[in-house]
C-alpha cells in the first residue's frame, strides 16, 4: 500500500545534504512551508542554495536559516519583501550570493526542468542588465534570452489537503509556486493541514497529482 505520510517534520526533511538546492515555495508569507523550514533548521544541512520568490521574513523559516549562516546562495526575484533584515545583513557582509531572476523566469525555469526540456528562449530581460552574459537569439524579429532549466534536490511545499498517495489541493493564493516546485525537485515534501481518505479529493480539483510528491506531513490542529 502506498502511504507517503511521515509522522514528523523531522522525517519529512531527512537526508538533505550539505550543498543541496532547496526549492522554497511561497509568495510573501503566503503558502510557505514554515514547519518544514524550521525542521530543516533543526536538521542541520549547510551551504544551501535556496530558490524562492522572496528571501525570508523576520527571524523564522528561511530568514532563520540565513541568520544561522546555513545559506550560501539565494536565487530569487525580490529579496526586498517584508522584514528582510536577515538577507540584507548577509548580503552586506558578502556571506551570501544573490542570483536575481525575473519572477516568471524562475517559475518557468523550474517548469522547464520538470518537463524534461533543456532550456528556453524568453523575451523577458532581453537587453537589460539581467541578461548580461546570456546567449541571445532573435526570434521573429524579437530579441530573446536563453534560460536554463532549474532543479531542486528537495522542494519544501505547503498545501491544504493530501491523500496517502500525495494528491494535493491548495487554498487560494497560497497555491503560488507550490505546484511548479513540486514538479521540479528530486524529492518533494509537503506540509498539509489535513490528510483525507484516498478517493475523497475530487479528481477534477486535485492541483498537484501524486506522481510529484514523495513525503507528506500533517501540521497544525489535525496533526
Amino acid at each position: 500500500m502506498i502511504d507517503k505520510q511521515v509522522k514528523s517534520r523531522g522525517e519529512a526533511v531527512a537526508g538533505v545534504a550539505d550543498g543541496a538546492t532547496v526549492l522554497v515555495a511561497g509568495f510573501g508569507a503566503v503558502g510557505v512551508a514554515d514547519d518544514l523550514l524550521e525542521a530543516l533548521h533543526e536538521q542541520g544541512a549547510r551551504d544551501l542554495t535556496i530558490v524562492a520568490n522572496n528571501a525570508g521574513n523576520g527571524d523564522v523559516g528561511l530568514a532563520r536559516l540565513i541568520n544561522s549562516g546555513r545559506v550560501r546562495k539565494v536565487i530569487c526575484s525580490y529579496p526586498r519583501s517584508g522584514d528582510y533584515s536577515a538577507f540584507l545583513n548577509a548580503y552586506r557582509d558578502k556571506t551570501l550570493e544573490l542570483e536575481l531572476v525575473p519572477q516568471g523566469t524562475i517559475s518557468e525555469r523550474m517548469r522547464c526542468h520538470a518537463a524534461g526540456l533543456g532550456g528556453f528562449f524568453s523575451p523577458v530581460s532581453a537587453g537589460t542588465k539581467l541578461a548580461e552574459g546570456k546567449e541571445t537569439r532573435e526570434i521573429d524579429g524579437k530579441l530573446h534570452v536563453f534560460e536554463k532549466p532549474l532543479k531542486g534536490d528537495i522542494a519544501l511545499l505547503r498545501a491544504d489537503k493530501a491523500d496517502r498517495w500525495g494528491n494535493l489541493t491548495y487554498i487560494k493564493s497560497a497555491r503560488n509556486f507550490n505546484p511548479v516546485m513540486a514538479m521540479a525537485a528530486d524529492v518533494s515534501v509537503v506540509q498539509v493541514n489535513e490528510m483525507v481518505e484516498l478517493g475523497s479529493l475530487d479528481p477534477e480539483a486535485v492541483v498537484t497529482p501524486s506522481i510529484f510528491i514523495d513525503r507528506v506531513v500533517v501540521v497544525g490542529d489535525k496533526a
Binding site: 503566503v30 516568471g104 523550474m110 537587453g127 542588465k129 493564493s173
Partner: protein, 230 residues
C-alpha cells in the same frame, strides 16, 4: 509664483488610466498608483484583473475583519476574489503575462524614453540588494503596456527622456503614459500629447519633458468629473 495649472493627484491619475480599460479586458495593475485604478473602472464595465501571484479576478481590499490569510495581491496586501475569479499557479500566472494573453499591463515607472523604453525596477542604490520581482515579465507580452507616473522627479527634472538613465526593465514597450500633467502616446512618429490638465500649455509641458512633443490631432483637455475634481 504658483503655477496656473493643477497637477493631478495619485487618485486622479489612476481614474484617468481606468477610463481607458475597455469592457471585457484582462488587466494587470502594477504595485503603487496603478493598483488604485481598479477603484475607478466606470460603472457597468466588466474588467478582469490579474495578479502575478496566481489570481484572475482580483477584487477590492477586504472589509476590516474580513481579511483572509491565504489571499494576498502582488503587493502582499490582503485582497479579495470577485465572483467568477479563479486561482492558478505561478508558471501559469506568468504564462498569461508573458504570452500575450493580457490586454493591458499598467505599470509604475521611474523613467520612460521616447522610444518607449521603460526603467522601473532599480535605482541602483548600492546599499540595498536589487529586486526585480515581476517587473520585467510585466513589461513584455501584454497587448498594451501603459505607464502611470509623475511627469517629473521631486526636483522637477523630466522623467520622460530621450534615453533612460536608469537600467532598463524592457526596451520599446511603453505605448501610453499617464502623468500628473498629461496623457502622452508614444508612436513611431514621436510623442503625441493626447490630453493636458487644465491650464497647462504645450510650451510649459515641453519644458518639463526632454524629447520633442507634438499635439495629437485628437487632442482634448483632460476633464475630470465633478466627483474626482475636488
Amino acid at each position: 509664483m504658483s503655477p496656473s495649472y493643477k497637477p493631478l493627484t495619485r487618485e486622479q491619475m489612476a481614474w484617468r488610466a481606468a477610463q481607458d480599460l475597455p469592457e471585457g479586458a484582462f488587466v494587470n495593475l502594477g504595485i503603487g498608483i496603478p493598483t488604485l485604478a481598479a477603484s475607478y473602472v466606470p460603472a457597468g464595465r466588466e474588467v478582469i484583473f490579474h495578479s502575478e501571484n496566481g489570481i484572475l479576478g482580483l477584487g477590492p481590499k477586504p472589509e476590516p475583519g474580513m481579511e483572509d490569510e491565504n489571499l494576498i495581491d502582488a503587493g502582499k496586501n490582503y485582497t479579495t476574489l470577485v465572483t467568477g475569479g479563479v486561482f492558478m499557479h505561478h508558471a501559469d500566472a506568468f504564462l498569461m503575462i508573458r504570452g500575450g494573453h493580457l490586454d493591458i499591463s499598467l505599470l509604475g515607472a521611474f523613467e520612460v524614453s521616447e522610444a518607449g523604453d521603460l526603467a522601473n525596477w532599480t535605482t541602483e542604490d548600492p546599499s540595498f540588494p536589487p529586486g526585480v520581482g515581476g517587473a520585467m515579465d510585466l513589461a513584455v507580452g501584454a497587448k498594451a503596456i501603459r505607464v502611470i507616473m509623475d511627469h517629473t522627479d521631486k526636483k522637477g527634472n523630466p522623467r520622460i527622456l530621450r534615453h533612460c538613465t536608469l537600467p532598463l526593465t524592457a526596451a520599446g514597450c511603453v505605448k501610453r503614459i499617464y502623468t500628473n500633467l498629461a496623457v502622452i502616446d508614444i508612436t513611431a512618429q514621436g510623442l503625441f500629447v493626447v490630453e493636458m490638465v487644465d491650464g497647462m500649455t504645450l510650451e510649459k509641458l515641453q519644458s518639463l519633458t526632454e524629447p520633442q512633443l507634438q499635439l495629437s490631432e485628437s487632442y482634448q483637455p483632460l476633464a475630470l468629473p465633478a466627483a474626482m475634481a475636488a
